[in-house]
Amino acid sequence: MAHKRRTIGGGGHGDGGMGHGDRPWVYFMVDCFFLITEFFVITFKFKNEESVLPQKLPPGGTVPSKNQDTHTNKEQLNIHVFNNGGQAVYKFLDSQAGLAELQQKLANSTTAGGDRYSVRVSYEPEVPWRDVMAVFNACTKVKIAECGLIPLRGDKAAPMRQ
């Protein structure tokens, strides 16, 4: 650090040997400036625009309460997600399918228009989020805007209160 810096051979501006005359503190200013610059350079990051999948939770849906009004004029489709040997399996319309098949079945079932349907997804507690997300993605593909969850019940459920 610049505690005692001197120009060799005397100052250039008649300052009696100092580069900045009687103002040696400018060296500290320069040091601080470099520190600030280093800080910004090190912490600089390009702004990463994240993508999002917009969806709607069904009105009154997802909340595990019998008092909630869950009636809508939309036809409800239920999909159950579980794992079989590390692979996600989707149970839909009484048959089990992989993701590609589920997408195909959803497309076939919603030919009248996705806005007429509402989807509820149930799952096993250890199913990873990405497998349920895949259902939301498949619903968006067939223009179903309302996707909610059927919460876990009993021992499987995570408590909402301590």
């Binding site: 503190w25 800080f39 999002v52 917009p54």
Partner: protein, 160 residues
């Protein structure tokens, strides 16, 4: 006086202290104000139907992140603050925070609620792709309890 004494430099510490204080103040203030919306590093699930953030309505949007702590518990992170997913803990709970936010934002009027009291503000949800549904469910149930139905799931768009 000797030649050695002639070369002694008197260092004025006052401006140095001033500058360092200003620098510290700046960093402290900026650090506190920076409400990073993606402060939790995580691997997001992929979705080919993803939209760019610019193409969706982000007005009044609340960003909720799910983070696994060192103890294995999951906590919600909103504006760099940690919230409990369950009610009744020592820390402030997510539902309490969301309800406060809704009250504040609707206090000025001009906000139209849905027929069942749905709040129109969108919520961006950042959940790691490997988070078990037992934990992810709690965040979504909390949103539903607060009647926040417009959800923007943070995803990774497929590479072109």
């Amino acid at each position: 006086m000797s030649a050695k004494e002639d070369n002694t430099v008197e260092v004025d510490m006052v401006p140095l202290i001033d500058i360092i204080s200003l620098l510290l103040m700046f960093l402290v203030m900026v650090g506190d104000m920076a409400k990073s919306t993606s402060s939790v590093q995580m691997k997001l699930p992929r979705a080919d139907q993803a939209k760019n953030d610019k193409d969706v309505n982000t007005k009044n949007r609340i960003v909720v992140q799910l983070k696994k702590t060192a103890t294995g518990q999951y906590k919600a992170i909103v504006e760099n603050r940690e919230y409990e997913l369950v009610q009744g803990g020592n820390n402030s709970s997510l539902i309490k925070y969301l309800q406060e936010q809704i009250t504040q934002r609707t206090a000025g009027g001009g906000v139209t609620l849905g027929p069942q009291g749905e709040v129109p503000f969108p919520v961006k949800l950042r959940i790691p792709e490997d988070a078990p549904m037992r934990e992810a469910e709690r965040v979504m149930m909390t949103l539903a309890q607060a009647k926040l139905v417009n959800v923007h799931y943070a995803v990774e768009a497929p590479k072109n």
